[in-house]
Symmetry: C2
Subunit: 230 residues, 2 copies
DNA sequence: CGTGAGGTTGATCGCTTTCAACGGAGGTGG
DNA sequence: CCACCTCCGTTGAAAGCGATCAACCTCACG
């Protein structure tokens, strides 16, 4: 498991992505992964917490009969695998070539109890994750298919796209099936909604994995909802 | 706002519900509320964190057009209102007469940074909340109406019912509409699924707010899913 | 060139929603 | 004490949205 992994850097303290990198004595490793590798599986021992440095990963739960719910797509700067208990409660796949920092979970928790500001940061992280999950629940429970897809594109534009202005070209590292499982739809419905948005002129699809947002205002209208950030 | 509130106890350190009560110097108050009072609203300043001592509350988000998503029903022992940022991201209503401990949020966070074991406990709490939200996402995104209702009853039986054996009588402090908004269904669908379970003999409904589970094994089958606890 | 994965599109089905009517419980005021 | 009203829950009939089943396309890869 986790073949193709190269240890690039060990016990580093030079975090180029400032957020979680500078934790002394935690024996971190930065590793490179290639697309489609699993990072860990549901039920695995949660020995590590991972920080995405480059690339995109996908966390999901699978029901016994195969139905899957994608919980989140994680981008650089995000932390995954911080769980209560000793086993992962969801699986995680790499969606694109990635660089990921691996931090032993126990060491991280110990460091957090030694250094209050780190503990506070972890708590902040957990509560903001909670807020994201709540947004996701609103989407899953309340919104129609077209609203879901529009909301998804907007959220992705904020995450991946650069802040402002023209940079409204979005790259989708995930498949239609991944998107569908994230939104609680089928892949056919996702595809249909995308072509609907294309026909309406709100977006362009030069390639299946590339989306250009033409009319972000109308897209926000389509997303409806109280997506306003506080 | 919050009329009918009586301050019962102030700056206490005698927590009868052990979990969160014994935090010195946090100026806690235990208050009594009656049914249908709002505890706080979405957007309110998050000055307090609340611990449910008795009763049940309901946290929800409302979209601009009125659609509502219930995020959780909280029972005694649970903590609510621990948010990132200075405003509540969801509203909270009291569903039954309740006793609730109110803890100033800033004082709690300060106490957490002074005392690592408290910080760790808060982090544990947040991560287990996260796990619950993930379960909820699976339910919202993957399950059919009948699976949702069955899962809901089982979860409620675990929460409210006493552990084992015969105590399979569940009291529902929430309305059908509350349940529907929690499950991403309409209240009619919830009602229909309940009568379907009644006709199938899995449950009894002596009163609309009282459910008796006759066949918990079949109910678990109806809930399907990987609801297994790890 | 064959193959398989991912994506799009069409036709049909069915579950859930929507709209509507009804009944019981609780509360208020005449 | 009863009439009246409102809220909550149940049930029925019809409509609609998304799922399902299926065909076809493109592209990458061996």
């Amino acid at each position: 498991m986790n073949a193709h992994v190269q240890v690039i850097e060990a016990n580093t303290s030079s975090g180029e992505n400032a957020s979680w990198g500078d934790i002394p004595n935690t024996r971190q490793h930065v590793q490179e992964y290639s697309s489609h590798e699993p990072l860990f599986c549901e039920g695995d021992e949660a020995n590590y917490v991972f920080e995405i440095l480059e690339g995109v990963v996908c966390c999901y739960r699978v029901m016994c009969d195969g139905r899957r719910q994608v919980l989140s797509f994680s981008y650089p700067g995000e932390l995954i695998g911080l769980v209560q208990g000793d086993n992962h409660r969801y699986g995680c796949d790499i969606l694109s070539d990635a660089r990921i920092r691996r931090i032993p979970r126990r060491m991280l928790l110990k460091a957090a109890s030694d250094r209050p500001e780190l503990g506070g940061k972890l708590l902040q992280y957990a509560t903001s994750e909670l807020a994201l999950m709540q947004d996701h629940s609103v989407m899953l429970g309340c919104k129609s298919a077209s609203e879901k897809v529009a909301s998804f594109l907007l959220a992705l534009a904020k995450k991946s796209g650069g802040e402002e202005a023209e940079s409204l070209m979005i790259h989708l590292p995930m498949t239609r099936a991944d998107i569908a499982d994230y939104l609680g739809l089928t892949l056919e419905t996702v595809s249909r909604q995308l072509t609907r948005l294309k026909i309406a002129g709100l977006i362009g699809l030069p390639q299946p994995q590339t989306i250009v947002v033409h009319d972000i205002f109308e897209l926000e209208n389509s997303a409806e909802a109280s997506d306003d950030t506080y």
